[in-house]
Amino acid sequence: MENRLRLLRTERSWSQQDLAERLEVSRQSVNAIETGKYDPSLPLAFRIAELFERPIEEIFVSPSSRSSKAI
């Protein structure tokens, strides 16, 4: 799933480790989410959204909305 996590993180000049500590996950988790290799659970997605004070859909791109735009 595409997301804007890396953009939001770099806007705040946070390293992956900084974000990982704020989310209480490993740096590897942050990297996997940013690169789209791993889709976070709903609770973790909410934690990310609350940390950046944005709605979830502003951070994570719905795969269905992407495909409908392509059509």
């Binding site: 209480e24 996950v25 490993s26 989410i33 290799k37 791993y38």
Partner: protein, 135 residues
């Protein structure tokens, strides 16, 4: 290598269980070698080294319950699934080879050894597919 608090606890449990396994195995070998055991006690002592190994399987289960990092947990679940599939496949193939007398007999507890080797296989597959070997 991802060293989460749950992983550290798992490692300590495995270290203690491995020491217990060595102690039980030595005791059982000594007991049978010197013909000190018979009847029900012999069955119990013969099975004794298996219990710490079962404990390691339980420790793995506890680890999966205790791990708070969901991505790391997912990697370990994948790793254990690969290990289980690998061990069961090797055991099944070997079973048929043994039935048709193409190969010699191997003791059943080697399935556990193959499962532990399978964790290494799972870690490699994680590395090549997700890009993270995990623990």
């Amino acid at each position: 290598m991802l060293r989460t608090p749950a992983w550290k606890r798992y490692n300590w449990r495995v270290v203690w269980l491995s020491l217990l396994y060595a102690a039980f195995l030595l005791a059982a070998v000594y007991g049978f070698k010197h013909h000190l055991l018979s009847g029900g006690v012999a069955y119990l002592v013969a099975a004794l080294p298996a219990f710490p190994i079962i404990g390691i399987f339980f420790a793995m289960g506890r680890y999966l319950v205790e791990e708070r990092d969901e991505y790391v947990r997912m990697l370990m679940v994948r790793q254990t699934l690969w290990a289980s599939g690998f061990a069961l496949s090797v055991a099944t193939i070997w079973g048929f080879l043994e039935s048709f007398e193409v190969v010699g007999h191997v003791d059943a507890y080697y399935v556990a050894v193959i499962w532990f080797a399978g964790l290494g296989v799972g870690s490699l597959i994680n590395k090549f597919t997700v890009g993270d070997g995990g623990c």
